[in-house]
Symmetry: C2
DNA sequence: GTCTATAATTTGATAGAC
DNA sequence: GTCTATCAAATTATAGAC
């Protein structure tokens, strides 16, 4: 079946795939143009500057991630089930050698990125920690409990190290520990 | 006092500073030449290809890190003191907005880096996990204990998120948890 | 909206004089 | 070893025809 999405969406999808594999600075307008079968000037029509592309890329990624979080019925699965579902979303984002979380790689490059991209990255982490804060309110308090920003940074780091080591070991161990630390005992 | 180190060393130092702030793909031969006051062709004399520069950069970084680890007298400070010293080395590497661990940013970019640079990154993580394995042998076993690769990936992720959020919160919380998980109770 | 054409700059890299 | 000079390619970006 033919691709019915708009050119703008197709460009963003191609950009997401490339950036999540290679980093923002290793992706060019020509790469994306070639991916979707147009010329680079057409990509510039949709995203005048690379900063526009980056900012809208993060915005779309965050919206989609938030939509997935909203699908989680916390009352139904409970706070521990919700945390499991959260980690599953991160696990889905990691394909060793192919992709990590968009904001993991952008955060690493942050100091070399345009300002509006950085604001988007911060918003992503902010949304993640706020959601985790909500589900922790529904958990019995425990001295072992990891703070939301700790959970997020552990998962992002695990993705990055897994990519470099070409093994999911770091990610899988991290995911297990987050669950163990929350269940307490 | 004038800089008495060799041009080769000065180039590597300039490269380390820039790469740790901006990433490998955001640093050029001309940047480095300008930093040390020569022309880019002189940088090419010392490092014919960018891959050479990257590989030797990681190699020097790993050697220096290992030397710092070797300075830790495990018998004297004990395994818990040694772990504290290990985390202190990472803490030293993080200056928000200025630098993270070289291998944190390189690991994030790994899929877009030359092969020999990737091998160096893996060697760094390998050396780190081996050292942690040794000190854990000297600790009382505990079910809470984090695996070496978990500790390393948590610290690297915390650096990256701290950089993006322009706050040490993620790093400090992570460092504290690693110590708490090892002390057990 | 997409194209051709092209500008302006940057980049990794090399040849050859000193 | 460092320089000048240069190259070929790539990159972000724009103007204007269709």
């Amino acid at each position: 079946m033919p691709d019915t999405s708009s050119m703008r969406e197709r460009i963003l999808s191609a950009a997401e795939k490339r950036v999540r594999a290679l980093g923002f600075n290793a992706v060019s307008f020509r790469d994306l143009a070639s991916d979707v079968g147009v010329k680079s000037s057409s990509v510039h029509y949709h995203f005048p500057q690379k900063e526009d592309l980056g900012a809208q890329l993060v915005r779309r990624y965050t919206e989609r991630f938030q939509a997935r979080l909203d699908e989680i019925d916390i009352e139904e699965v409970g706070p521990i089930g919700a945390l499991e579902a959260f980690i599953a979303l991160y696990a889905e984002a990691l394909v060793v050698g192919e992709s990590v979380c968009l904001c993991a790689i952008l955060a690493a490059e942050a100091n070399s990125l345009p300002g509006r991209v950085n604001i988007g990255i911060q918003a992503f982490f902010q949304a993640n920690t706020e959601w985790l804060t909500e589900i922790q309110k529904r958990m019995p308090s425990s001295e072992k409990r990891m703070s939301p920003i700790e959970i997020v940074s552990a998962l992002e780091g695990a993705m990055i190290v897994s990519t470099a080591m070409k093994s999911r070991e770091a990610f899988d161990a991290t995911a297990q520990r987050i669950m163990a630390n929350c269940k307490g005992h």
